[in-house]
């Protein structure tokens, strides 16, 4: 069977214009990975790492500058909007901010029945309504919510509506772009649980994008770590958290303040300030405390540590993890 998503050497360059001056920013560079049916792949990185850009390119909300995207074995890189439409039905996305991803002037019924009309799944109003109610139940909402507008809901409920909209077309794959980072912790837990239930119930495959290691740990089977537009490490979740190989991955883990006051970690606050993209050598060089001479000379390649653990580092870590939460 084909992998459901296959991405090869993806690159995205943004051109920005600032007071008439054109500058190019490489947001994503040389990104390749595959997603197998039924798995949840995590994509983690800080702001500006290019993780969101990758998510949007997969569902063609952005077009890559170069590289290839295959969805279920079909190369969709150069398809136009019309030819891509059948894939839209099968490949959905849920956005970060439920306050801005729902049209404020549409009711829940209108929001959720649009996909049915657009894809010609169901034209009959009554049947549309039935289907909408069915999906609403799936996400923990009720018939009484049908005629409400987004502003009448709390953040968590809005995100449920957004998830429901993505489910309307019975997709196989959903990009979850930081789906809980705009929510409060107590509500985040509800939504994460819901997403896990839905996945099991509907045989879904997820690409889960987040900057929160805890969330990624809870949700994903396998994780990609992105730094400055590149994948720097890729491993099954357990392996990544028990033995991270890239210093950046470990650095991220150390940076997270644990709610258990007994698990302390001290961070050197003066150093590791600036993130510079070096033209040669390693991108992480300026923040790395284990740099060797060849780190300055050569940009590291993504190499295999084991069959499913890749790392982009000349001097990968070998010691055990700093992730204390499993104990």
């Amino acid at each position: 069977m084909n992998p459901i998503v296959q991405v090869e050497d993806l690159k995205k360059v943004f051109r920005t214009q600032n007071f008439g001056r054109v500058s190019k920013i490489t947001a994503v560079e040389g990104v390749s990975f595959t997603i197998q049916r039924g798995e949840t792949l995590g994509l983690i990185g800080e702001s500006g790492s290019g993780k969101t850009t990758v998510g949007r390119m997969i569902v063609k909300l952005l077009n890559p500058s170069s590289g290839h995207i295959k969805l279920d074995g079909h190369d969709v890189t150069h398809l136009n909007e019309k030819a891509f439409k059948p894939f839209r039905k099968r490949f959905q996305i849920v956005f970060q901010d439920p306050y801005s991803s729902l049209n404020p002037r549409m009711t829940v019924l209108q929001l959720l029945s649009r996909p049915l009309s657009v894809f010609g799944i169901e034209k009959d109003r009554k049947k549309q309504r039935m289907k909408v109610i069915e999906v609403l139940h799936d996400v923990g909402l009720h018939e009484e919510h049908l005629n409400r507008y987004p502003h009448e809901f709390s953040g968590g409920q809005r995100q449920r509506v957004a998830v429901a909209r993505a489910l309307m077309t019975k997709p196989e794959f959903i990009v979850l772009d930081e789906p809980t980072s705009a929510l409060d912790v107590s509500v985040q837990a509800q939504i994460l649980n819901l997403l896990r239930q839905l996945k099991a119930a509907h045989n879904l495959t997820y690409l889960f994008i987040s900057h929160d290691l805890g969330v990624i740990h809870y949700m994903c089977d396998r994780v990609l770590v992105m730094y400055m537009g590149e994948i720097v490490e890729s491993a099954p979740t357990e392996e990544l958290f028990t033995s991270p190989a890239h210093p950046y991955t470990r650095f991220l883990m150390e940076s997270i303040p644990d709610p258990d006051p007994e698990l302390t970690n001290e961070i050197d606050y003066v150093n590791k300030v600036k993130a510079l993209q070096s033209t040669y050598g390693c991108n992480f060089l300026s923040r790395c405390d284990r740099a060797l001479p060849n780190c300055f000379d050569r940009h590291p390649e993504l190499v295999k540590l084991s069959s499913n653990h890749l790392v982009r580092c000349h001097n990968p870590l070998k010691e055990a993890s700093v992730w204390k939460r499993d104990g």
Binding site: S186, V187, N193, Y218, P259, E262, N265, K272, K274
Partner: protein
Amino acid sequence: MSSVSAKVLEIKDLQVRFDTEDGVVKAVEDVNLDLFSGEMLGVVGETGCGKSVTLQSVLRLLPTPPTRITRGQILFHGENLLDVSEERMNEIRGGKIAMIFQEPMTSLNPVFTIGEQMRDVIEQHRRVGKRKANSIAIRALIEVGLEDAEVVLSKYPHELSGGQRQRVMIAMALSCQPEILIADEPTTALDVSIQAQILAIIKHLRQTHNMSVLLVTHNLGVVAQTCDRVAVMYAGYVVEKGEKFGVLKAPLHPYTRGLLESIPRSRKVRELRSIPGSVPNLIDPPEGCRFHPRCSFATEVCKREVPILEEAKPGHFVACHHWRRLGY
């Protein structure tokens, strides 16, 4: 440590209201907090729990109208800040109690250089000339880890990164040698790696300058890693407070417990325990305990009576009718 050192700040029975078109928002209810010399107190809570409003009331920064402080006192060394003149308040703001904010992007004035903004503040509080102010600013910037301080002084805010700007804000606070630092979600807008650095700086400065710190955040991890004591707020009330080990390791309030259990930590957990429902609307909040509609322990009494904050264990306070049923 709280038993030996002196109280520097005491918030007593604070009640704050906002007037809006839809009605009066009951934002803060009978909040009692105290801060001891040299300690770091964390105030945690979710959106709309009143934590920021409480702290902004200390420096009287909330615009009136629509805000009304309807009851309570804010005592700084026994002096009620809600009564003092605007002139006296200006001596305290920055000089005695400094504050840093959530958005380092918008908290600095975009059309003045960092140097000009810092010098103005230093001249205001330390009564020194321009040159002396400049050297104080440079020292402060170096102390927060901005080594090329002189260059930073000549820059405009938009030329710095988010982390650098927050460092500048901290340096500005530091340069007037305040007794108290109020940090209102200082790292929420920043990446985790920058967050770790900023928190490390605050911790370091607290020790070297013997400042008391009042830290507001929604992130329990931040509190666990930096503070001595914690106060948990929900829907305008302080529901639990005490030493951080007590509150975070053995919470007595169902909300605190739910909050801790909601944090995703590991895959090995089959399912996260979440708190059902969402934060109430404070224009028309639930009667009795404001948490009762979301609480699995709630009984009739919770719907009727507001629980008072009582000392359950030494130094560990909780506002719940049923805390004994939750005890560890």
